[in-house]
Symmetry: D2
Subunit: 89 residues, 4 copies
């Protein structure tokens, strides 16, 4: 179900990106193109947040409740990594 | 020529995004999907910077050399706006 | 201990920011000021990531292992929120 | 005058950052600290945009109207660079 929502959003973003490509092909005004790219960026960040939320409510809970301390450590480390990365893109 | 480069890059990013959609369809690990989305984001930011560079070297120079103070003001304001937006996405 | 590291880093950043203020007072070149502000931004993002890591390894583990489903939900929701926010600043 | 505004804003942000340091000293809730750091980040980005605006309306106009093509190129390149950087921090 969650996957359905994620897929639908990603496909909408793909359509948006194709629109940007068309704008460039039709020689649209640079600033308008940049603004549309920024809108695509923002939409992608939202999808990422939604995927992270699903991940926290499934894999992360399982790992923390599980018996494998290594797995738990890995799962928590990954969250910090994508968080750190997210402020760079 | 610049437009060619921009188009090629945007199409590569479109392919990358389709790869992300496939990953979700094939139920890839959430964190791997997020990382790929962040890579798409980073690539889009690079294209934006390249488009801005072309814009500065054409329209902006024309506007500043031109005789229309309103147009000049508008063009400079737009740059500040996309810059401000860029730190938000 | 973790708190010590966080504090030390934040105080270093405070010193860096005071340096930026001095640059503006001494009429430094705009672009150099912007670059230093971006460096302060990057350093702050790193501290955020470190604080999040500590949080995941303490409060979040406690909440997930605990018996309060409401608290667990709140704690996981907060992580998604700061993640979403982090791609906007 | 512009410098006055920039200075005032930077000093406000310095006060905000000192508040964050106090929060950490008083062992505030991690997520609240992260949110305050993100607010400081957002405020810094706004100051950067304001500094860039002043820069565009002074140095950049001068460079473009001036007779030094090297200087003009340098000034335009710098804008692309801080723009590219701004989507990474």
């Amino acid at each position: 179900m969650e996957t359905e929502i994620t897929l639908r959003r990603l496909k909408t973003i793909e359509g948006h990106l194709r629109g940007v490509i068309r704008m460039v092909e039709e020689d649209a005004y640079c600033i308008d193109v940049i603004r549309q790219i920024q809108a695509v960026d923002a939409a992608l960040s939202k999808v990422s947040a939604q995927i992270l939320e699903n991940h926290l409510n499934s894999c992360v809970i399982d790992a923390i409740n599980g018996n494998d301390p290594k797995e738990r450590k890995k799962v928590l480390k990954e969250i910090t990594e994508v968080f750190e990365m997210s402020s760079k893109v």
